[in-house]
Amino acid sequence: MRVILAEDEVLLRRGLQLVLEDGGFEVVAVTSDATGLEEAVDRHRPELVITDIRMPPTHTDEGLRAALRIREKHTDVAVVVLSQHVQRRYAHELLASSHGKVGYLLKQRIADVDTFLAGLRQVVAGGTALDPDVVAVMVARAKLSDSAVRALTPRQQQVLALMAQGHSNSRIATELFLSEKAVVQHTSRIYDALGLPLGSDSHRRVLAVMRYLSES
């Protein structure tokens, strides 16, 4: 799988490159700023772009802006945005701009290599990967203001969070040590309780859950 990596911190870039190559990804280009990233994407047409949010020259959010532009220009290129801090606003911008193939993760998640690589593959396959941290913020927020979310059982709330993170039922089952059948039961109850439209593909499911969480 062909990947382009944009990260201005040399050590982290090198570490990430090794993790990717060990995981069977082919790193076709690395850059340290957003402009270089967009040029490299135009040239190499990779399957996946991994970019830091804060990069030179302004050290604000140019990585995210570049990611949004890339998703708009090349619908076949999956994009995963990494950051030292995750927030709802950026998660929304990324989800709203595309039909899947986006990820938004804390940099710290790299360390849990297997989960991280699984997330990348999930995104390349057309899915979504949202950091547990940002999902937790949204679920906590919804619990404060929405009685339907508050009324869910703790287990259902766990399932809801994992759904929002972009995981499939089988993955949720593994994560919670449940049978896949049990997960399906939980999800359908959640759908009923929140009045969500039933969606087959994982990204639509994430979108529906996220929309529900942010409207609450």
């Binding site: 982290l12 993790v19 050290h59 959010d61 030292q84 790299i110 849990d112 404060l144």
Partner: protein, 582 residues
Amino acid sequence: MRPAVVRSTLARSFDRSLGTILGAGLVLAGLNAALLPLDGPVGHILALFPLVFLAFLGAGLRAWYRRPSNRIGALILFGGFAVWLGSMQNTDVPVLTAVGTIGATLILAVMVHLLHAFPSGRLQGPVSVATVTAGYVTSLVLQAPRYLFDPNGPAPSLVIADLPGAVALGGRTQQFVGAAVMLATAVVLLRRLVRADHPRRKVLAPLFAYGVLAVLFIPLGSLVLGPVFGIPPAIRAGLQLLVLGGIPVAFAYGTLRGGFARTGELEELGTWLGASDGTRPALAQALARTLGDPSLTLSFWVPRRHVFVDERGVPIPTELGPDRAVVVIELEGRTVGAIHYDSLLIGDPELVRTAGQVIAIAVDRERLTAELRESHRALRRSRERLVDAADRERRRIAQNLHDGLQVQLVLLALEAQQLANAPATASAAADRATRLRQGIDAAAADLRQLVSAVMPASLIEGGLGAAVEDLVDRMPVPTTLALDIGERMQAPALESTAYFVTAEALTNAVKHSGASSVSVRLVSEDGWLRIEVCDDGVGGANAGHGIGLRGMTDRIDVLGGYLRIVSEPGDGTRIEAGLPCA
């Protein structure tokens, strides 16, 4: 409201003197009309003499009345007298004819004098003094051979000998010196025009041009108009008189240009000082009116910093502009202030110095206020620098943690996990390595919180709106947010102050109020960023449990904003802050 005009006794006696001059002038004009042979063949031309004289009288008196300290008015009156004297040549009274002959060309010298003395009425520089003196010598002394040695001349009673050679020599000398005077005058005036700034040049250029042409036209006009254009002598004389009559009007207008208020006397300034109350922002204005220079400024000495400052406490530039002069005001031997004025408008620095002495005590009093303002400004600037430095330091620390420690924790955790995943690692060690990775992840989460408290990433990356949104997202009680602050703000100090005030208010609501809901509003309107945080908690907040907020007031003060806390017991707490944004 117009300030009441205080007329001192001295000013009233000045008014009376001008009245007397007016009366005498009218008598002279009457005399002139009576003595000139107005019913003769050129009577209608001669009738112009009293009119020209009246023009000088009127213009001179007006200029003198409006600007008592300026000598142009007196000079114009003197010119009127010269016209009157010259016109007496044409009477039939032998004595008056003789006197008129002696002073026939005096008016030309006075006109040269006017040109050099404009606008202050005082001659500036030795070249002007020499040129004007030469002008008077040409008109009064070098004129003498014409009537002393020529029996066929205009005043036979003055002839002492018949010396045609002397008459010719005198005439040539007079022409030569007269030409030299005019040349010198032209050079001096041109240099002044070149040095003058644009608005002044607009006044000076036409006036100088008219004056020089008039001085040349009146004696030489006959040479050109008669032979070249064939204009009869009577009309030539009439034209010359009309040109002459324009002189006083032009100079009086030039002197009073810009519609200056009438300048007052120093005594009036003193009376005004005594009459007005202690607060006197108009001191400089009163001084400007008294000295007749609207561009006059007053500055105050700050000994601590060795600078002059204006009334707002802002230091003024030390170098002087063109045509600006400065007089230092002293009180009991120490410098208290300075007066900057237009040296062309006010020719005599003594006048300014005297005015400065009159107001020295008042200046000293205002000086203390200006000094206080200056030190207040300095203090405020230094506090701004402190807040700025603190912010920059916070950003630097946050950036260093972001680039350094946070990256290292990612790499360390990665290392631990790779150790755990390595096939060679025994399963017990692999478990410990995985726990190590999780421990590092937890430390990284703590570090994220620390960084967030120092200078949140959301503020650096997404600005105030994103940062406050993130803050509200993480509130443990239901919190609504109304945000209307437009695009990213430019001033980092404003953004971070607004963020920290909001964060502190939210912390207070969570920690102390026991609120079940909170609302946050950030609006930018009318050049103000307004922050409002309300909760429905127990209220009764006071400075005691708002220590963090009190710390914020310092920051808010520095930016010129406000902070209000309304917190009645049992009625929730409402915190309002406003920060001016450009």
